[in-house]
């Protein structure tokens, strides 16, 4: 009995603090989650219901005409296709060229290696916001203005990606590479069949981030693209900003549709995202 008592008292204390913790967590979750839930619910309401005061929380009648109407009236599928193309192609390019650079920087010794690595890291200090005008002028000179390539190529060489992969590849033992070389493997084969498979965890982190960066990207597409048929989803959605919007029922439906893919990606790949942020402070 005597040994149980203190434990009980401690449990009692924990309960008071735990209730406070739960209170804060529930309140915080409400603030973080309700806004999104609210637009999801609103997107299933009829036009006169979403403009009603006082508003209803759950839809009176669940309708899907906002979705079908939005798909009919706006080139949503075209925006979606553009976004998917940009996201997939850009992520593939990013993975390929960043891992090649990381391989060179971590597994070879050559003149200028450290200088090149420093310069690559140094470009972290030059975000797009600082050079958007000259980059656009370069793009325009190369004939990539108003093309999806113009969105895809310039941000595909990411300093964070090179850094992340290089750090990871440094932990791959050189003996493995030496052994492969003894067996007569060429350098590209070593990269492709020895190093890349072993670097899979780091590649997974970069993949998730690249998908998120590209899917959500706004400023750079906004600069590069000014033709409706090349709009990405984000550009298409941003057309509806402002107080004067009257088609809110369509806007809500399209907004909800646009967050479905990224939510699915998150559900499947959450741990890579979390570990990426926690260990490297990668931009979310």
């Amino acid at each position: 009995m005597t040994s149980v008592k203190p434990a009980q008292r401690r449990n009692g204390q924990v309960d008071a603090a735990t209730i406070a913790a739960y209170g804060c967590l529930v309140l915080g979750t409400a603030v973080m989650f309700l806004p999104v839930l609210w637009i999801v619910l609103s997107s299933f309401k009829g036009l006169n219901e979403i403009y009603r005061i006082p508003p209803t929380f759950l839809p009176e009648h669940w309708i899907t005409t906002n979705y079908s109407g939005a798909l009919e009236r706006f080139p949503f599928l075209r925006y979606l296709t553009n976004s998917v193309v940009v996201t997939l192609v850009a992520t593939a390019i990013t993975l390929a060229i960043n891992s090649m650079a990381a391989f060179a920087l971590s597994k070879y010794r050559f003149p200028g290696r450290d200088a090149i690595f420093l310069v690559i890291l140094g470009t972290l200090m030059i975000p797009l916001q600082v050079i958007m005008l000259p980059v656009y002028l370069v793009i325009a000179k190369l004939g990539m203005a108003n093309s999806l390539w113009g969105i895809i190529i310039p941000p595909s060489a990411t300093p964070t990606g090179v850094f992340l992969l290089r750090q990871y590849m440094l932990t791959i033992p050189d003996e493995l590479i030496e052994a492969a070389r003894m067996d007569g493997a060429g350098e590209f084969r070593i990269y492709w069949q020895v190093v890349l498979p072993l670097a899979r965890p780091a590649l997974a982190v970069l993949t998730v981030f690249s998908i998120m960066w590209r899917w959500n990207d706004f400023l750079w597409p906004l600069i590069v693209i000014n033709q409706d048929r090349l709009f990405t989803l984000q550009l298409g959605l941003a057309r509806f900003r402002g107080e004067l919007v009257t088609d809110w029922h369509y806007v809500l439906a399209m907004t909800v549709l646009s967050i479905v893919p990224i939510t699915l990606v998150f559900a499947v790949l959450q741990r890579y995202l979390v570990s990426g942020i926690a260990t490297t402070g990668l931009k979310g």
Binding site: M32, I53, Y108, E178, G284
Partner: protein, 292 residues
């Protein structure tokens, strides 16, 4: 790497080439170009004229909008970073508690980080809408006055900060959470034996050991705050008037809406100096931390 054969003298350069080429063409060369642009007066109709520091002098002495943007960004950064630093500690500590459904709570706080800035802005525009927004409906239901949230300068700035904090808090809370998890449990055990309560443990163990992480949060938060554009551009468009026009939007406007290339380049350099300084501070802090 010592090896019997050396057919790969140029191999590393081959592997580096695509990445480095893109860096040079799309980052390094434009950065240099930006520097030259800032020294020229440009116009869509005439060739550029070298004017030296004229663009900078004009920005600093005569351009009211530039100063407006500078004032706005300072208010925004101070509010944004203060809230993010404070709240990320609170949320980080909460998410580190041994509570039920912890995974769910972590996901909930992190979820807004996934949303694109455009979506975030639209979600809040819908909530804050003057006529049909749910927030005003709730206020009205409580018998309070409706507010023109995004149509009045002070409220617009408040919501600009709030929405950006809402969208990025999960990211910073996660960094804090990682910092908290790195604190050895034995230390808590030690202060508990010394008779410290929860608050004592927080003050004497958590806070001091979390300081390096907080520094990271602070500097990253500052950098991202100065660079902000998307959320606010879609939420308020810089308005009402120019009440929430921030520095990146100033550059965007000068470069792509008014064709004032020289001015845009000069303003970019001002922003670059700020970000450069912060990045160097971050680097030096990291070095110092490693050496301690």
């Amino acid at each position: 790497m010592a090896s019997p054969r050396r057919p790969y003298r140029f191999t590393p350069y081959f592997f580096l080439m695509p990445n480095v080429a893109i860096f040079v063409i799309f980052i390094i060369a434009p950065a240099a170009y930006n520097f030259f642009l800032s020294l020229y007066r440009t116009s869509p109709f005439r060739p550029p004229v070298f004017v030296g520091p004229e663009n900078f002098l004009y920005l600093l002495r005569e351009d009211d909008l530039f100063w407006r943007a500078m004032r706005n960004i300072l208010v925004f950064v101070v509010g944004d970073v203060t809230l993010i630093t404070g709240l990320s500690v609170l949320v980080g500590v909460l998410l580190n508690q041994d509570v039920r459904y912890r995974g769910f709570f972590r996901s909930a706080f992190f979820y807004p980080v996934l949303l694109s800035p455009v979506v975030v802005a639209l979600v809040w525009q819908w909530i804050l809408n003057n006529q049909f927004g749910v927030l005003n409906a709730v206020l009205q239901g409580l018998g309070l006055a409706r507010q023109p949230w995004l149509l009045r300068a002070d409220w617009a700035m408040f919501w600009a900060i709030f929405v950006h904090v809402w969208a990025t808090l999960g990211f910073f809370a996660l960094i804090v959470l990682a910092g908290l998890q790195a604190i050895p449990a034995a230390l808590y055990e030690a202060v508990r034996i010394d008779g410290a309560g929860r608050w004592g443990a927080f003050r004497h163990v958590t806070l001091p050991l979390l300081m390096p992480t907080l520094m990271v949060v602070l500097i990253l938060g500052l950098i991202r705050s100065f660079e902000v554009f998307d959320h606010i551009y879609v939420l308020t468009g810089g308005g009402p008037g120019t009440a929430t026009l921030l520095i990146v939007q100033f550059i965007y406007r000068a470069a792509f809406q008014l064709d004032q290339f020289g001015l845009a380049a000069a303003a970019s350099l001002v922003l670059f100096v700020v970000i450069f300084t912060l990045t160097v501070a971050q680097y030096l802090f990291g070095r110092w931390r490693e050496s301690v």
